[in-house]
């Protein structure tokens, strides 16, 4: 099609070349133009092949409709799949901002200006140059420029017939079509300028960023046609319709054009109707219908297309006419049941047409019709689809997703037993035609819809918070069960069922891991604490020794001293000294890079909602001022306030110290337990001393953390929101809506942070073996915990490999669940170090490599250091190495410069072996900071592989 048009133009070019006199202009430009045209033809041939590959469907409407902007953006952003017809993406984006998104993503930034110039044919009113301004551009671009100028503003071309004559390549109708652009840029003296200005503006926006690859091949003309024909606000005249159809015919896309035109006339389009009546219908209607005096009367009853005697089969366009005229008939009479039926038919005939239907009228006709059927549910589903929402926002707002849920819940019977399953609903859907049933099934089984249905079907009382991990699992089960039912009923393919179930299972697994972090994060290894207590007692004063003290006098003198000594030894060990101490656990599980960052994340997330295009939040005063103007000062100050308040809370409530409240309490209780132990009858002691001590410590720790959680929830919440109210007052008179939006988000986020941290502050009650995990899951979990809204943008990658006993390697393997905490600790500390010291913050390029062998584990973390920071890192290398080699000591429970100690302690705790940590000196050449950790021997960690 495209190629055919180019061949036509090439022939015209040859004719012009042969006719015109050779001149200086010829020497300068003609050869370049001819060469350029040859290049474009070659590209056209390539494009045509690609279009054929990408869209095997014969129906180009289908091809156009499949150009969902998101998909298009992704494909082009990835630069992986260029077999896509760019025009369709832009044409199908129905508002300027969406077009911008598409165009920005598909055009290289450096091309934008050039593309803009090419697209509008250099008729910008400020531009007064000629072709000689474009000596440097490649031949193919040059030929487009020349062709465009010949069309738009030949007066600007230098003397010489050759280039002026290029105009003949197009023909008058194209020139007329392009006068839309001309009229926009020329002084508004013509009526065309008034009529087409809005269209021209839209089109200008469209083309100003259009991808060069599309333009230099196809040229802007056919794209304009589709832009105009699919724009419901454009009102082309009958003559324009004729010109556009002729052009469409040239490009071999008449059917697509007619199809859109028919869809369009369901709305208010008198010129279109007139054009169809006079030019198109006579060729395809039966004589009975042809006798109708005008289209309104004609479409008052369903049209009977004229059937060829030879084939007795309706063409595509005849079938479309029959269906759409039936739909119009139903809409005019407000017959909702018939409308539902017709829309389903249209969808099954060609889903590409659906979005061009007259949805405002359809919605008006069906809104007050409350009989819910699978057909009506299908139509309400369509109204919540993104493409219809974009083209008909008002119609979509009047029904949309809420009405869809309304219809679905109505379709489900009211009996509670039936409500639990979606099987019955799928049975009703099965009654629809296949294409509609499949589309509706996919829509119903979308997770967001299942979540809503599950909520609607579950009675609740009291305050309703967002769903819990348990509910999430129930929703997953409901969805998986419904997917299976849909597969059994052949509503969707087995492959689709398998794919969806796989993703749901992944989600369940992830929710499982996440729920581990949700409630009671402080994990204290009580078994090891008990063992350590037993060792201390046995080494210091075994019960046999105490019992051997016969004299009461000696007992009175010795036992209190023993009790005091043991109490101090055990308490210090439990609270501070052991690598598994309680303060160590608090530091690992709450203090070190966890609680304060969670509150700061509330600010980052709020910032993200008001600056969606930014990649990462930066709390830089200058940058913030650009966004919040004078309010930035209040916002920054409030962020510091929150940070300080939470730091104080962490220091006071989440740290154990001899001067604090917990230390003397535990000391006292342990002392009592030991005294009782020594004083009592050993044969009737019941629980052993170490168990008593551990239980006592556990009870007190739990109590202390409950108290800390309460303090956070009450005192800190009050302090944070009193100050927040003050910030609101300070920014009350702002005219900047961004500030308001930001504060609104921030308030919600701070409540969430308070609630989440309150839940974290508690002792983990996990018992039994955890399920196996993949290392990538732990990395995701770690990044999600601290950088939820950013984690997809973080530049963190990983490689995992397991070396089998025969030397072969696999990359997919799971690790036993009991090692989850070890991997969490290692990844958390390595990532925190990288983010904190690279100089790039969350933008750090970080790569993990995990290599597991039969009895050895090797971990490598490498990250780039910023240019500004590299000298400091090189200078501090010796200190860093010293820190990494330091044996485990009290530093392990510090919250600063303790990452390596924490890693060492974690390995020591799990394997009873300390790792070797190697940090090669960084250089300012590669600016790479590398940490290599090796631990051996270790038991086998993996399940499979």
């Amino acid at each position: 099609m495209i190629f055919k048009e180019f061949k036509r133009r090439e022939a015209a070019l040859d004719k012009i070349t042969n006719r015109v006199e050779k001149s200086e202009v010829w020497d300068r430009y003609a050869i370049r133009i001819k060469n350029g045209f040859t290049i474009r033809i070659a590209k056209a041939r390539e494009l045509e092949k690609r279009i054929k590959t990408a869209h095997p469907s014969k129906n180009i409407i289908e091809a156009l409709a499949s150009g969902a902007p998101t998909e298009n953006r992704r494909q082009y952003a990835d630069r992986k799949n260029r077999s896509y017809f760019s025009i369709s993406a832009a044409v199908n984006s129905n508002n300027l901002r969406a077009q911008h998104l598409v165009l920005e993503s598909i055009a290289d930034p450096v091309d934008l200006d050039l593309v803009s110039l090419l697209a509008v044919g250099f008729v910008n009113y400020e531009y007064s140059g000629g072709l000689n301004d474009f000596e440097g551009v490649p031949d193919d671009e040059f030929s487009i420029i020349a062709e465009s100028m010949s069309r738009f503003s030949p007066e600007r071309l230098e003397s010489g017939n050759y280039i002026r004559n290029l105009r003949e390549m197009s023909g008058d109708f194209i020139v007329e079509l392009f006068s839309i652009f001309d009229s926009h840029f020329l002084p508004a003296t013509t009526s065309a300028a008034v009529t087409f200005a809005p269209v021209a503006e839209r089109s200008l926006e469209l083309f100003s960023k259009f991808k060069r690859e599309t333009l230099d091949i196809a040229g802007p003309d056919i794209a304009t046609v589709f832009q105009l024909i699919s724009d419901p606000t454009a009102r082309p005249s009958k003559e324009k319709f004729a010109a556009m159809r002729e052009l469409a015919d040239d490009w071999g896309v008449t059917q697509a054009f007619d199809s859109l035109l028919f869809a369009r006339i369901l709305g208010d389009c008198p010129a279109g109707k007139s054009f169809i009546l006079e030019k198109i219908l006579p060729t395809m209607l039966s004589s009975r219908n042809r006798a109708a005096p005008d289209l309104e009367i004609l479409l008052d009853k369903p049209v009977t297309p004229h059937l060829s005697r030879r084939t007795l089969r309706m063409t595509y366009i005849q079938r479309q006419l029959a269906i759409t005229s039936r739909l119009k008939f139903a809409i005019d009479r407000g017959n909702a049941a018939s409308i539902f039926d017709c829309v389903v038919r249209v969808f099954c005939f060609d889903r590409g047409i659906i979005k061009f239907l007259d949805w405002p009228r359809i919605t008006a006709a069906i809104r007050r019709y409350f009989v819910v059927t699978p057909q009506s549910t299908f139509v309400t589903m369509l109204l919540s689809r993104a493409d219809i929402k974009r083209l008909h926002p008002r119609a979509s707002l009047s029904m949309g997703k809420g009405a869809f849920i309304g219809d679905l819940t109505a379709l489900l019977a009211s009996g509670s037993g039936q409500r639990q399953g979606l099987n019955r609903l799928l049975g009703l859907i099965k009654g629809l035609p296949v294409q509609a049933a499949t589309a509706l099934t996919f829509a119903v089984l979308d997770r967001s819809i299942i979540e809503r249905l599950a909520a609607a079907l579950t009675p609740r009382s009291g305050w309703l918070n967002d769903f819990t991990p348990g509910e999430s699992a129930q929703i997953s089960m409901l969805r998986i069960s419904a997917l299976r039912d849909a597969g059994v009923r052949r509503l969707i393919s087995d492959a689709a069922v398998a794919k969806e179930i796989e993703s749901e299972v992944e989600l369940m697994r992830f929710n499982y891991f996440q729920s581990r972090m949700r409630i009671g994060r402080v994990r204290i290894p009580w078994t090891e604490i008990k063992a350590a207590t037993r060792t201390i007692v046995n080494q210091t004063a075994p019960i046999e020794l105490v019992e051997s003290l016969v004299s009461q006098e000696i007992r009175r003198e010795v036992i209190p001293r023993l009790v005091k000594f043991l109490t101090d030894s055990i308490t210090d060990h439990i609270l501070y000294n052991a690598p598994v101490s309680i303060d160590h656990a608090l530091s690992n599980n709450l203090r070190h890079g966890i609680v304060v960052p969670r509150f700061l994340r509330a600010f980052d997330d709020a910032l993200q909602t008001v600056m969606r295009r930014r990649t990462l939040s930066v709390w830089d005063e200058k940058e913030l001022r650009q966004i919040f103007h004078d309010d930035s000062e209040f916002i920054l100050r409030y962020r510091e306030f929150v940070s300080d308040e939470i730091k104080i809370f962490v220091e006071e409530q989440l740290t154990v110290s001899p001067a604090g409240q917990l230390d003397p309490k535990i000391r006292q209780e342990i002392s009592t337990k030991i005294s009782q132990y020594f004083e009592g009858d050993t044969s009737k002691k019941g629980r052993r001393l170490e168990t008593n001590v551990a239980k006592t410590a556990e009870k007190l720790i739990k109590g202390a953390l409950v108290g800390a959680g309460r303090k956070l929830n009450e005192e800190k919440r009050k302090a944070l929101f009193t100050e927040f109210k003050a910030v609101r007052k300070s920014t009350k008179n702002t005219t900047n809506s961004t500030t308001k939006d930001f504060l609104d988000s921030l308030e919600t986020n701070l409540h969430e942070a308070l609630e989440e941290v309150r839940q974290w502050i508690g002792v983990s009650d996990e018992e039994g073996d955890a399920i196996a995990f993949k290392i990538s899951e732990v990395i995701k979990l770690e990044l999600l915990t601290t950088h939820l809204n950013e984690w997809k943008k973080l530049k963190v990658t990983s490689e995992e490999v397991f070396v089998k006993s025969d030397g072969s390697t696999v990359s997919k393997f799971s690790i036993e669940g009991k090692y989850l905490e070890l991997f969490e600790a290692v990844i958390h500390n390595l990532a925190s170090n990288a983010f904190a010291h690279s100089g790039d913050g969350l933008k750090t390029n970080l790569k993990f490599i995990f290599k597991l062998e039969q009895d050895k584990i090797f971990i490598r973390a490498e990250n780039l250091i910023s240019q500004l920071k590299i000298e400091d890192v090189i200078a501090g290398h010796r200190n860093t190495v010293a820190l990494s080699r330091k044996q485990i000591g009290p530093e392990a429970r510090q919250d600063k410069k303790s990452g390596f100690q924490k890693i060492r302690a974690s390995f020591a705790q799990v394997f009873d072996a300390e790792p070797t940590i190697n940090i090669p000196p960084p250089s300012d050449k590669n600016r790479l900071f590398v940490v290599e950790i090796t631990v051996s021997p270790i038991p086998r960690l993996t399940y499979d592989a």
């Binding site: 849920i405 309304g406 909520a455 918070n465 769903f467 993200q608 009350k732 809506s737 988000s745 409540h751």
Partner: protein, 153 residues
């Protein structure tokens, strides 16, 4: 008679302030739903005398995706009750002043939101109240609008 009032609002501070405001002016059982999803549960299982509905919600598609303010997210509840013929009056309470979005540009004032909702949901929608948590006057307006909506119901 005790009234049953549902507040659909994701901002906890605002939800509590609205609840306090309602309880200070009338005898009412007030239940709050923190998300659109949770509102469905209440709507399906209980008859409400009035709904106080936020319009702009913070939504995250799934873990790791950007949070975003969806300017007209609350409209989903109006669509639902309208479609299900639930005859409960709705008062919209919002802290925002613009509701324009990529799909629906031009709703750049509370007045335009009011016009839109009045046009689309005449059976349920009553009025919109601008909430300003830095002061108290909005509470009187809310109380007045609630009483007016209940009278008309």
């Amino acid at each position: 008679m005790t009234l049953n009032i549902l507040i659909v609002e994701d901002n906890q501070t605002k939800r509590l302030e609205i609840e306090k405001s309602i309880k200070s002016s009338m005898e009412a059982d007030v239940i709050g739903a923190s998300s659109i999803r949770q509102a469905y549960s209440s709507l399906e299982h209980k008859r409400w005398d009035l709904i106080v509905l936020d319009m702009t919600f913070q939504v995250t598609q799934s873990a790791g995706h950007e949070s975003a303010k969806e300017a007209l997210a609350g409209i989903e509840i109006l669509q639902f009750i309208s479609r299900r013929q639930i005859e409960t009056p709705v008062v919209v309470a919002t802290q925002h002043s613009s509701f324009s979005s990529l799909d629906m540009p031009g709703i750049d004032s509370v007045q335009k939101l009011d016009d839109l909702l009045r046009d689309l949901f005449p059976e349920n929608y009553r009025s919109v109240v601008e909430v300003d948590l830095s002061e108290e006057t909005w509470k009187f307006t809310l109380q007045r609008e609630i009483i007016s909506a209940l009278k008309k119901a």
